[in-house]
Amino acid sequence: METKQVEWFSEIMKSTETKSKAEIPDHLKLRLDAIPNEYGVYSFVFPIRTVYMAVASFTLLITINMLAIRNNNQQNKKETYLDSEYFSYLNQL
């Protein structure tokens, strides 16, 4: 029984020894041949994630700038109002 199992195991292990190389299917050959055209220098495409990240960064940058400008304008207005009030009070003296 044991010998039979050993023989069977050895046959199983030998079953791939005479394996030949499988041929590449034609559709895969076409896909491989197309790689230089699809991924060549002139057809380089940015990954969509990079594009989204760039757009998000620009949007954030513009928003921060706009908030900063608005804040600055408001502060300037406030300062102008306080200055004019102060000076007008001095004028009255």
Partner: protein
């Protein structure tokens, strides 16, 4: 054309050099993927991914190893990625979990197109047993026993030492003996 000329042409984006690379290695790479992944569709997709990676990263090849060893290393990495992706999908799929518990009895399912007709059944049992090995043992065993790559090249390809490959092979054989022994007992062959 020598390896060196081929690489120089590839680095310059030469389409003819890429075609020569495909002629020389695509069949080997496809067969390696087929043996590791044991699924024709996955092997086809992974082969394409490997050659895209080679085309895009050929400038990173420094010539410290042979071109085909570098190519096999990319192939093994891509196959491992594919296996992990599939395992992740399986882990999150309740139905697949039930399915895999039913498959615990070693059901031969993969028929390698390069195996002779008389050996198909036996090879199918062997491939099923290989599929149940831990990832590194599976790859080492497939590289050496199925694809005929030497221990030295397998060590470079898997980025491991020679002794690690020997140990992986030893454990793979032990595990295969155990799995196939159980199969033999259960099926009373």
């Amino acid at each position: 054309m020598t390896d060196f000329e081929e690489i120089e042409g590839l680095k310059q984006g030469n389409e003819r050099s890429f075609q020569m690379l495909l002629d020389a290695y695509s069949k080997n790479v496809y067969n390696l993927c087929l043996s590791i992944l044991q699924n024709q569709e996955d092997a086809e997709d992974t082969t394409q991914e490997i050659f895209i990676a080679v085309f895009l990263s050929i400038n990173e090849f420094k010539g410290e190893s042979k071109l085909h060893t570098w190519l096999y290393r990319i192939a093994v990495n891509k196959c491992q990625e594919c296996i992990r992706k599939k395992n992740r999908k399986k882990r999150f799929s309740f139905l697949n979990r039930i399915d895999s518990s039913e498959n615990a009895n070693l059901i031969p399912s993969f028929l390698h197109p390069g195996i002779e007709l008389e050996n198909k059944e036996r090879a199918s049992i062997l491939f099923s047993a290989i599929a149940r090995l831990p990832e590194n043992q599976k790859i080492a065993f497939t590289l050496h026993k199925i694809e005929g790559i030497t221990y030295e090249e397998a060590a470079i390809t898997m980025n491991l030492s020679l002794s690690s490959i020997e140990s992986l092979m030893f454990r793979a054989k032990q595990n295969l003996k155990k799995t196939l022994g159980e199969y033999h007992k259960n099926n009373e062959l």
